[in-house]
Amino acid sequence: MVAVKLESVVKDYHLDKISVRALNGVSLQVEEGDIVCLMGPSGSGKSTLLNIMGAIDVPTSGKVLIKGTDISSLSDRKLSEFRNRTMGFIFQAFNLIPVFSVSENVEYPLLLQKVSKTDRAKRVADILQSVGLESYAHRRPDELSGGQRQRVAIARALITKPAFIVADEPTASLDHKTGKGIMELMAEMNKQMGTTIIFATHDPMVSEYARSIIRVLDGDIV
């Protein structure tokens, strides 16, 4: 099964009067259960590619099929629901909601799905245990270290059992050792839950965790 498929995706950014081509007609596909790494120097187009695959950005031209669905045809409400159910996101800056506790952050995607309270509590407890943060459930994000925050983000991304996870430089804000821990956790989750993982990095150490590597350079796949 194919998780994501891109066909001749072009992305132009418009800055005042000039336009910058970030993606140059990219075609690729990611198989379910895979761990894919987008490798390339800064400015090569990795983030742009990930955003399009995660349905949080739209291509200038080309086709995006996520689990066979052409997302360009969806309304905002449908697309939001689709994102909520189909993918998880992990960001370089963790992006936890500061007014929510650890468990509330993890619970949030389930709230959007209107999962019952008891179900939510059980699933949040389970996932926090598997990322090793069960004793931090009531902490606020600002009371955690960077590595712990990224674990919360991983738990939040996984709680909906998404088809795939998009992670843009997940270790770039962490020290080497903590970053390794995060990558090991993601690999473990892929093994346990079969979750497809697509991540971007320019760190060769981090790319070692991938099963397939896609090299990106100046908006092209090489």
Binding site: N51, I56, S80, E81, F89, F91, N95, I97, D168
Partner: protein, 421 residues
């Protein structure tokens, strides 16, 4: 539900900013409440003095036409068999007293000038009504519940039986006529059945009142008026009630009275007759409306500013929520709720503070003011029952103010907000 929870949390997040936003609403609304309390206290007192000033709580006349033409032609509207009607009216529930009155137009001339005056005539023999100087302490106490002839004399005395042809004129009329206390004016008036009559009237008092009243209204004795214009009875009856709040009820009861001599009795409530009261009331109401409008405008700007900053600060967070599956509309709602909550919390605490401040000011003795040469203490008595208009418009304006920034938050492109810088 989600949006509301998030909105609530976010208010307590930037504590400093929320505090200042809320404070500007709280202080504004509290000030408004204190002012409303002051106005209300004034108006309650004013209302009492107006009713006692010769209008009564309710007036009864022979026909509604009287109020259009009666003062120029009272003869067609004289209440026949008034003694019987008076005793019937005295038996109506809530009625405390019934006083006959006459009104007519006349030309008043001094040695220098002639002007047109509206004469209002009341019985002066009754010490409880007009001749207060001769009343005992107990009678005076009761008199406070009853109409006085004229609210505030600047010089001279009230009308009394001692000077049957006495007249009390307003300061403006006295000035125009160039007369002073003790002077005599000549009055020319129409009499019943046609023709004219002339008489001398002695100025026993000069009063200060509403600008228009001062120029046109003059007060004389009821008996003197009857004989001067040649009528047998009153043109109106003034009713005073046990409680001003029963005015409407009594008006209804009076309309049901079947008087064999007149087809229908016309009634006028004090509010319909008290021009000056209405003017002051309108002035205060306008004043309050303007203050409220300014306040709402300030609140609008404060909340637009707060919410705009809130959206700008939380761009990345909005993007994150959207990536997690929050729809545009939910994001918009979060920010609208947030503004609405600020408005609700601000206005409710504002009302609360207003009541607390009023209470404190009253404990400190209110505001001393000189009124009619007397020291009067004015207190702050805001009405809890009329606080809703201080709350819901604030919430409404807060919601409106939040709509712009909220819409902007909803329109953000997710990828743009998440870009790592």
């Amino acid at each position: 539900m989600n949006s509301l929870n998030l909105a609530f949390r976010n208010i307590f997040r930037n504590k400093r900013r929320s505090f200042f936003t809320l404070m500007s609403i709280v202080i504004g609304i509290a000030g408004l409440v204190v002012f409303q309390g002051f106005v209300r206290n004034q108006m309650v007192q004013f209302r009492a003095s107006v009713v006692q000033g010769g209008i009564g709580h309710l007036q009864v006349a022979a026909s509604p036409d009287y109020y259009l033409k009666g003062e120029y032609n009272p003869f067609d509207y004289i209440l026949p068999d008034s003694e019987k009607l008076i005793s019937t009216l005295r038996k109506v529930e809530y009625v405390k007293s019934v006083i006959p009155a006459l009104g007519f137009t006349g030309l008043a001339a001094s040695s220098e000038k002639t002007i047109s005056l509206l004469f209002k005539a009341y019985p002066v023999a009754d010490p409880l009504f007009a001749n207060r100087e001769r009343a005992t302490e107990a009678q005076l106490k009761e008199a406070r519940q009853r109409p006085l002839l004229i609210a505030s004399l600047s010089t001279g005395n009230q009308l009394s039986a001692d000077v049957p042809n006495g007249v009390v004129v307003g300061e403006r009329a006295a000035k125009i006529l160039n007369v002073k206390l003790g002077d005599v004016i000549t009055v020319l008036g129409m009499v019943s059945g046609g023709g004219m009559n002339g008489t001398d009237m002695k100025i026993v008092g000069i009063y200060k009142g509403a600008v228009t009243a001062e120029k046109y209204f003059a007060y004389i004795s009821y008996d003197f008026a009857k004989s001067f214009i040649g009528v047998e009875g009153p043109s109106t009856l003034l009713l005073t009630l046990d409680n001003i709040d029963n005015t409407n009820k009594v008006a209804g009861l009076v309309k049901e009275i079947k008087d064999p001599n007149t087809s229908t009795l016309a009634t006028r409530k004090w509010t319909e007759l008290a021009v000056y009261y209405r003017q002051v009331n309108t002035m205060y109401t306008t004043f309050l409306t303007v203050i409220r409008a300014i306040l709402l405008l300030v609140i609008l700007f404060v909340i637009v500013n707060t919410q705009t900053m809130s959206v700008m600060e939380r761009m990345r967070e909005i993007g994150t929520l959207r990536a997690l599956g929050t729809s545009r509309i939910q994001v918009v709602l979060t920010f609208i709720f947030e503004g609405g909550l600020l408005g609700a919390i601000g206005s409710i605490f504002g009302v609360l503070l207003g009541f607390i401040l009023s209470w404190i000011f009253n404990l400190m003795g209110g505001v001393p003011m000189v009124y009619d040469g007397e020291m009067v203490r004015n207190y702050f008595t805001p009405d809890i029952m009329s606080m809703l208009p201080n709350i819901w418009p604030v919430i409404l304006f807060a919601l409106i103010a939040s709509a712009g920034p909220a819409r902007k938050a909803g329109k953000l492109q997710i990828a743009d907000t998440l870009r790592f810088i």
